[in-house]
Point group: C2
Chain length 445, copies 2
């Protein structure tokens, strides 16, 4: 959708809302539909090709509005007063789950207890999963020993994750009061199953109860991928709830060529993907699928009608359209990586699998830090740096929706221009005796 189409369709939605409010007395306060009404009106899978805005808009009145209450418009958690809100979310998330080829058991349309919800972020998804795992574990411990208090049971529980997992895992453990063991990742930034199993066995030997493990598909720092097919069986062996945080990289798995990243997801108990990160859906929209309905699906009671925007995007782009956008972004990232590789002053950190390129000057950390500081004060481009195994580097990420080759080339020209200034400056500095340059002590490369 280009800017002019956006103007037209946005204007139509404004009119739709104004009409709705102006004529609200003609609507009934409670919808007359029966539970499950929406399933009969919507196809079971996302369209392969994108549809026109007109056909989506028509369905708002035909398909959605009959299941919306006038009294609680767009903010009602109850199935009774806003079945459209609940049912569209179930359908849209089943669509997305199928696009990601998640096992049937994660879907509402599956045979088991699986299901999903749209949350505000990966943090809430991990918290909800952790709380569910904690509850099951405490119940089990107290069933075996009815004298055990909540606190005594809690003291036995351990959760695991790697040092490359997003800090929201730590935050969830602080809120859930579950001890967290942070395990060292391997040279690629992934956690090996041997490391996980060794930690679990060590804790079991100490009388502790391993309860939760959070794997990451696409780490924040370097976009590394934990191997679910190897880690999953370890979790299953010891009865550990395995959650997969695929907030960013999960979206790419709608492309068959990237789906291997989720191989092994059938061993997991829950997985979260944030379409607001890379699937053209506006913030916020994080999908959590789980094999068993949690006691609490979310922190708050009320719910916004977030499935509408997901449904709009899935229909207007279609599966092929979204795959094409992902591939285009990955292609741009690879083009940027080529530019970096072709310049002998720079090196890449890790592989470029998706839209993130990690790179640095073949130099000490402090020169790279200087490059970052200068880019920051220059203000023409914005790069967020990171460190991995002691190496400070810059991260270039293709932001979805609007990035083009001209933007990538522009960014590279700015980096070059700033680098030229730095290397000149650094040459002067390196002329000094080694001991006088603080940077030498933190060199790792």
């Amino acid at each position: 959708m280009d800017a002019d189409e956006f103007r037209r369709s946005g204007g139509e939605m404004v009119d739709f809302i104004a009409d709705y409010l102006q004529n609200i007395r003609q609507r009934r306060p409670l919808p007359a539909v029966s539970p499950g009404y929406l399933k009969k009106l919507i196809s079971e899978e996302a369209p392969s090709d994108g549809e026109s805005w007109e056909s989506v808009k028509d369905d708002i009145e035909k398909v959605i509005m009959p299941g919306v209450s006038s009294a609680h418009t767009f903010r009602e958690p109850l199935l009774a007063s806003s079945p459209a809100c609940t049912e569209l979310e179930m359908i849209a998330l089943d669509w997305l789950g199928k696009m990601l080829r998640l096992p049937q058991d994660f879907l509402f349309s599956g045979e088991r207890q699986g299901g999903s919800i749209i949350l505000g972020g990966a943090s809430e998804a991990i918290l909800i999963s952790l709380i569910s795992a904690r509850k099951a574990a405490i119940n089990k411990l107290r069933c075996l020993d009815p004298q055990l208090t909540n606190g005594q049971a809690l003291d036995k529980l351990v959760a695991y994750t790697s040092d490359q997992t997003h800090c929201c895992m730590e935050k969830s453990c602080l809120i859930g009061l579950v001890s967290l063991t942070i395990l060292p990742s391997d040279t690629t930034g992934a956690l090996s199953w041997e490391t996980l199993e060794a930690a679990i066995c060590r804790d079991l030997a100490r009388g502790l109860v391993p309860v939760f493990f959070c794997a990451t598909i696409g780490t924040t720092s370097t976009c590394a991928f934990d191997n679910l097919a190897e880690l999953g069986p370890v979790c299953n062996k010891y009865g550990v709830w395995m959650h997969v945080d695929a907030a960013y990289a999960g979206s790419a798995c709608i492309c068959p060529e990237f789906r291997y990243l989720l191989d092994g997801v059938e061993h997991c108990t829950s997985i979260s993907v944030s379409p607001h990160k890379w699937l053209l859906v506006n913030y916020d929209c994080t999908a959590l699928w789980t094999l068993s309905h949690p006691q609490h699906w979310q922190v708050n009671m009320g719910r916004r009608f977030r499935s509408l925007k997901l449904w709009f995007v899935l229909r207007m782009y279609g599966v092929k359209g979204l795959q094409e956008r992902i591939r285009q972004d990955v292609h741009l990232a690879k083009q940027f990586a080529q530019m970096v590789k072709a310049d002998s002053r720079f090196e890449l950190i890790g592989d470029v699998t998706l839209g993130l390129v990690c790179f640095r000057l073949k130099h000490c950390n402090c020169v790279n830090e200087e490059l970052h500081e200068k880019l920051k004060s220059d203000r023409r481009i914005h790069l967020i740096p990171s460190s991995f195994k002691g190496k400070f580097f810059l991260r270039f990420v293709i932001c979805p929706a609007s990035t083009q080759l001209q933007d990538v080339s522009f960014a590279w020209s700015v980096i070059n221009e700033i680098t030229d200034g730095i290397t000149r400056h650094c040459a002067t500095r390196r002329a000094k005796p080694p001991g006088s340059c603080a940077c030498i002590t933190i060199r790792h490369s």
Copy 2:
């Protein structure tokens, strides 16, 4: 704002967004403003009279956009990349805090550590407060006895609330794993300070640590009000964190004549009010003020730019405009209560202080349940029932923004029509011998 104004201004905002996206390459990825830039551009208090949409719109480009990054538009939690988002929230919540005449210590502009945040609902506000109180209590216990584990400390903690508190308090305690004691409310639905103090003393005598109390200003069932001025000193005496859930009724406290409901708030540690309930702000928008910055301000890391809608509403209605809307809604509720009182078949449950009227047929519960069922299947109006001290009743609430006397009269006419059918039916039933009517066993009135 009427429907035509909404069409015009909504269309302008669509154009604004389209222009923004179309010309995004002309913007810098990071804003050039310094921290605190916004305070200098915005007045310290909400306007008394409403302003035009034009003046608000002008300020979006002049005041907001200089503090917005193009790279992370409207979804960036970082002060660095979107200072407008962070700073506008601080300013708008200080405005609202001043409108509610909260003690200075709750405000960013105060001298102490107070501050506030917009969250998604009262549940999250209570959870954040509870987790903060829990953390402080566990730290203190483990400081006194370094051998104590987290679980052992946790087992000592107790939270309190009344049987009229929203169930989200129970949910917060389940997530936070803190024991909750639910105390009986008095005949008005409020919790007496004597009941709270007796419970605290009983637990202290058992070696437990009272840590958190959630008071309610405007309970869900009957809109009852806990007396903060009496309960607060009890909490202070025993070092208990007192949170005030004023989700619905808090909004009314912008009117001087209702501000007494918050008398005693100076004894509390945190308070939450949901402008999405009664201050014309779209869902979701819950304000949490607290005296001390919590370790975690919210569950998720990312944040939407929710302060914009709060700021728009405060400016376009002004304090007087919003007070007028509250008064109008309360007046409508009192008009409905008059209709109920004038009909000898009905009785009111409790007083009508704000926008909720609780009423029932002067009859057994099952006849009232029948009235509710019939209204539900009739579908012309939507009332949510409740029970208090064994009495089942109906709840008529004035929904903000669009309810008029004609709607109230229409609702009353529907209730009358349905009641006529019921009382006839019931007359038949009451002719039967007492024992044959199941309803008699659950009669309370």
